[in-house]
Amino acid sequence: MPERTISDRTMPDRVMIEIDRVTRSYGAFKALDDANLTIREGEFFSLLGPSGCGKTTLLRMIAGFDNPTTGTIAVDGQPMAGIPANRRPTNMVFQSYAIFPHLNVEQNVAYGLKRLKLGTAEERRRVEEALAQVSLTGLGKRGATELSGGQRQRVALARALVMRPKVLLLDEPLSALDKKLREQMQVELRRLQKAVGITFVLVTHDQYEALAMSDRIAVMFGGRIAQVDSPKDIYQRPVNRQVADFLGGMNFVRADIVDETGTSLTVDTLGFGRVRTDKPSAFVRNGGTATLGIRPERLRVLWDDERSEFEVAGEVVERHYFGEVTHLVVKIPGFEAPLSVIETNDFGADDLPLGAEIRLAYDPEALVAMAD
């Protein structure tokens, strides 16, 4: 790992989940292929990838609804093989929320507590506490079918949290909510996780959700884990083009490797010339070429006679207006493909005519080398 984030430093390094060489096959098809992961206690960890990448399969195996074909899963040092879902120290928030429709909010939340035989007073206290944690105080008597989408999600959360699990598993918990509510719940979930200190494992296909909430993210494609890093490293130092693409727009330039050390790569490119960059954590050299990338928001339009040490000049060929920002496509002589630029609208990028000759500044620090 290149550098440790703030949350890494404040967290104890105790391992909570150990995924060791786990494969899940259905006949010849491998839903999950040789996955290795270590998730720490108190961490907000996300499994991010497109549908069919194996993230849900992995989550369901941690919960006990599915079993690895080979490999082992341990939670809090205890191997999970042979332990059914109802005896694991994990609880899950389902994608459909799976609220019991014949029970009211309170009865839903108390469902798992009934088996613990805590006594009426203690049970009531814990239900109230859980409802307060998810801001549902006073709605205990509400019927399950009378709840809004956001409320159902909170009930599902409370029902799992009240069990005080060692690990809370969340299967795309926000995907059924509209955009505004989703963004609000992202902030709330993150706050809640910090408050209760429970290890959260979130499955999502939404890169913004993963970036906004997680301490660390595992990006998965086709049953394999491509990269495990902090949100910032995943976004800024993707290990290959596939990861870079999934996390958002990026300009790619073909690069020939000139020199490789333990921590850096020096490459020759058409356009940006010779560049020396940090090497991504899990970079695997594939022949003599690599890809050099730069995110569109790291390119900046130079206005009037403003100058930069690192600049390229070209012609605006496309312009797309998005309200707060404008996306420009700029054709630059010497580059194999035009560059995408995201510019805030405070200087009038939305008024640039097609065909305008402009200059772009870039920070060489924002150039990142990755596998093809």
Binding site: A85, Y111, G112
Partner: protein, 276 residues
């Protein structure tokens, strides 16, 4: 011009008239039954001669009728319980699993619904005799199970359809055992559909004549008793009174069954359907 065409539009005068004739055609014969059952005259014809409950009062004092009612009760309860049990098994398999031959099997289970009852009755009689079974209420129960299963299936399938599997997973996730999950989640969720299926098949069995007529030995059910009484003109008012009671009971049970079926379907769908 406009007025002439408006008469033929939906909601116009002709549509209302058509609907009225339609309803009269359906229910006029049925209305005669309760009307003549409270008439003082022994022959069912207009004009009515006066109001009386005496035909109803005589019913509990007819031993043969009470025996027939008891037989119907025994057959109805046995047939409805058994057809509901078989219906649960089949409906669960058909709604939960995708297996080869699922549709044809479903079709075969529903087929007795459209087969002529007299054909079913005759074939069952032949089978019973071949098997060496002597005709009794037991053979009637077997016949009634056959014709009740399609009704049970219809009711139970709509209760089970859309049952979100993650509800059972959520229960296990919260620490509940397989049996506990069945008792605390599955059963309460499908209970309305099960009760509805029991009511529907009981009603079908109670009202069924043809199969009972062929398969019963010396023990008549209510419809067979009624058939037997029709030979005596003097007994007709009693038959009308009994028929009215049967009609009322069937109507009430079917209404209750439909209410429960809808509740079961709603319950399953509000959970599974929205996010499916």
């Amino acid at each position: 011009m406009k007025g002439r065409f408006a008469r033929f539009l939906p909601g116009g005068r002709w549509l209302g008239l058509y609907a009225l004739v339609y309803v009269i055609f359906l229910y006029l014969p049925v209305i005669f039954l309760p009307i003549f059952s409270v008439n003082t005259a022994a022959t069912p014809k207009f004009p009515l001669t006066g109001f009386t409950w005496k035909w109803y009062e005589q019913l509990p004092h007819t031993p043969a009728l009470l025996d027939a009612a008891w037989n119907s009760l025994v057959v109805g309860i046995s047939a409805s319980v058994l057809s509901t049990v078989f219906g649960i098994l089949a409906a669960r398999a058909i709604t939960r699993y995708r297996f080869p031959g699922r549709r044809p099997i479903n079709g075969l289970i529903m087929a007795p619904l459209v087969l002529p009852e007299i054909i079913i009755a005759i074939s069952m009689l032949l089978v019973m005799l071949q098997l060496g079974l002597s005709l009794s209420l037991f053979t009637v129960v077997l016949g009634h199970i056959l014709i009740c299963i399609p009704y049970s299936m219809t009711v139970l399938t709509s209760g089970f359809e859309g049952f979100d599997r993650s509800l059972e997973e959520a229960s296990a996730d919260l620490g509940e055992t397989a049996f506990g999950t069945f008792r605390r989640v599955t059963l309460p969720m499908v209970a309305p559909a099960i009760i509805s299926s029991l009511l529907v098949s009981f009603t079908i069995s109670l009202d069924e004549f043809m199969i009972a007529f062929f398969l019963t030995g010396t023990e008549p059910t209510l419809p067979i008793y009624i058939w037997g009484q029709l030979r005596f003109a003097a007994k007709l008012p009693g038959v009308l009174a009994l028929g009215t009671l049967l009609l009322l009971a069937s109507f009430l049970m079917m209404t209750l069954a439909e209410i429960l079926r809808r509740r079961a379907a709603n319950r399953a769908h509000t959970e599974g359907g929205v996010y499916a």
